[in-house]
Symmetry: C2
Subunit: 206 residues, 2 copies
């Protein structure tokens, strides 16, 4: 099965700008990508990164500067294909294996907030649309082409890392480099009024 990992290399993780500057976001996004590639490798998969700008990583990279939806759809159809987002910092081999386990024509891993964290398509006519409540659209698109659908229930796959609050999940649950990177950058958990937040100590200069 072809495995595609889309990666926004041009303007990575803009919604983390309240807590990470441009260089840090670039670095952190690359660390999360490396974690995802490691996990796929541990599952015996051979992913290709589809990025909107060149990026250095431990997998073949194809640069495609079209919007995410178009770049992914260009790679669906002719053979079974998995699409796994690059910011699933909580992914583990066990979680990713859930994605490949069902024999359905379309397998969907919902992301929080209506997103789709990962898809396996074995149907030649299934296409994606990552705008809006994509998980609902993907269910409807699968039904529209007559593809039976399985849904994967995984907190690890549902948790993509977009916003500062998501860093709490990384610090608590990542088993890869992303948590380590955050800790080295000075991030830690803070509990305030029963809510768990992140705090950052003085930025390291070396």
């Amino acid at each position: 099965m072809r495995v595609v990992v889309p990666f926004g290399a041009a303007r990575p993780k803009t919604r983390l700008s309240p807590v990470l500057d441009d260089d840090e976001r670039r670095e952190f996004a690359a660390v999360m990508l490396a974690d995802v590639l490691d996990v796929l490798d541990a599952c015996g998969r051979e992913p290709t990164v589809v990025a909107d700008a060149p990026v250095a990583c431990d997998a073949p990279v194809v640069v495609d500067d079209r919007p995410l939806t178009d770049a992914v759809n260009a790679r669906l159809g002719d053979e079974p294909t998995a699409v796994v987002m690059a910011d699933l910092a909580l992914a583990t081999p066990a979680a990713v294996k859930l994605l490949f386990a069902p024999d359905a024509a379309v397998v969907l891993a919902p992301g929080r907030g209506g997103g789709t964290s990962a898809v396996v398509s074995r149907h030649p006519e299934f296409t994606v649309d990552y705008h809006g409540a994509s998980i609902r659209d993907h269910r409807e698109r699968a039904a529209a082409v007559g593809a039976d659908t399985a849904t994967v229930d995984s907190f690890r796959l549902a948790t993509d890392v977009d916003e500062p609050a998501d860093l709490v999940e990384v610090l608590l649950h990542s088993e890869g480099g992303a948590a380590e990177w955050l800790r080295e950058a000075g991030f830690a958990l803070r509990t305030a009024d029963g809510r768990v937040e992140i705090r950052r100590s003085g930025t390291e200069s070396g």
Copy 2:
């Protein structure tokens, strides 16, 4: 196994007050509780609701007005016990079965933001503490009493419903009465700038 469902009946779901008034929050919390009880029933479990005020529901209710942590700890220790939160509106029998599957002394289902959505304890000395990053504390408490721990990876169990944004998950993924209640109350999804939000149409008067 004893199954306990703690329920905050006195001041239910205060963080939903931006979108639901007092009566609506009370009603919606009761609908989510009913969903959780239905799912436990479908798994062959016989839950007891531990509430801080009387509540009508389809299970035995014990009123215990101590704080959540104390009320739960009072019921741990002497026999294997599961504690399942009452606001897991996305819970399904398949997800709940994941909780009961591992044979570990302590089984933890993480909630988003550092919470603990569900626990199974088969260890006489394990106790809970729901303040702060409880999932981390629960791991440490299990280790401290020498209990082996299993962690359940479930988006459905990780998703408790506390805030308006969480209603998106209910509308998209609930298979119970909670989604129906929201739709009847006028809630629907709206997509804005690629983010998925809720909107509410004119409140029904009858």
